[in-house]
Symmetry: C2
Subunit: 226 residues, 2 copies
């Protein structure tokens, strides 16, 4: 567990910081429709928020961040939307790959839905000076993840058997777009996660939302069910 | 999907009702401490809320309800607390077993923590005229549940391989006690569940909390990730 200091109005506060956060960047299509754009056009506005979240996580000293890119479920949508969110994911990963991070793209790559441009990141890669672990789920499916299990005896064997075994337990999940659910996001790394929902849509990301989430997390207890 | 009518101030509303709800009855210990009781003494106040939830679910025409009794994680607590929550679960199941329900108690029964009195309900039992499926998790562990998997190829095989295979996908989870997390509650039946948190502690259960949850659920969309 990590404790940081922060200063507010000349007072020093201590903050318990999550080690690993998950980001569910929902609401791109609703945001686009509200603006009078086509649904597919929302995704291109998701890139800047993604970088902002990364910088904020780094400032807080968070060790690991996992982005919910797109899922096998998402691929049931109209082709024009799929093309758009796949492109946004490729662009987002390429932006992240200009930072000092330890990058992993993970998802079912034995599928035509997996973008070729991202294959090179499907083994963890230290970029620049390395640093924060950044995981990006691309063509991820909870059932695909679990389909890799061979030895199910015990918690450690289960977690070590997942395709996503290199992604650790998640302390805090931040979901934009108002929904209060996981939507298949890493179900076994999320069994004990605190889930914080931001009502604004992801393209309306603001640093204050992130700060509020951190303050909220600081007030939760951590029991791991015990 | 089921739609019911309800009447309020002479107006008829249509309500989309969840097929299956989960109940996480948290906050018994905090409630007891607030009252000046010992932590262990909170559990005995959890029985009446459990029955109320059952009656309300029946009124709404909900098909299936799953209670989070206690978990293998919970058994790391002091013995005096364990004895108390195990007794509360046995009492709760015995109360439910006086209703017309289709009852299943599920959890790791190959453990001294599993109360013998409940073994008779570990195969689904129609009581009275039968009716609503009522599942009660007793000495449940998410890792125990998954440890039964043998064939992991595909969503159906995974769900059919769980120890909890007789518990269906959950539409809505109601959690009392203010926490916003699943705490290991049926992770694979919960991948798409909407999670509604009630800030009050479980012994402070009120029907209004249940009604509010149903109204909130009615405003959510159901996409199953698509």
């Amino acid at each position: 567990m990590q404790i940081i200091q922060y200063h507010y109005r000349k007072v020093v506060f201590l903050l318990r910081v999550p080690r690993h956060i998950g980001i569910i960047p929902d609401g791109n299509r609703r945001w686009a429709q509200d603006k009078g754009y086509e649904k597919k056009d929302g995704y291109q506005y998701s890139l800047t928020p993604g970088l902002h979240a990364l910088y904020l996580a780094r400032e807080y000293g968070i060790n690991e961040i996992t982005y919910y890119g797109f899922t096998t479920d998402n691929c049931k949508r109209p082709r024009i939307q799929i093309d758009s969110f796949v492109k946004a994911c490729v662009d987002a990963v390429n932006l992240i790959a200009k930072e000092d991070v330890s990058l992993l793209v993970i998802g079912n790559k034995n599928s035509p839905m997996f973008p070729e441009e991202l294959l090179k990141f499907t083994n963890r890669t230290n970029i620049g000076r390395g640093g924060m672990k950044v995981n990006f789920l691309v063509n991820y499916g909870w059932d695909w993840d679990i389909s890799n299990l061979s030895n199910n005896a015990g918690r450690k064997s289960i977690l070590d058997g997942l395709y996503s075994r290199d992604i650790s337990r998640i302390d805090l999940i931040l979901r934009w777009g108002g929904r209060k659910r996981l939507s298949g996001f890493l179900p076994l790394q999320s069994v004990y996660s605190d889930i914080y929902t931001i009502d604004d849509m992801w393209p309306d990301f603001k640093p204050e939302q992130f700060h509020e989430a951190m303050k909220w997390y600081n007030m939760q207890d951590v029991t791991l069910g015990g």
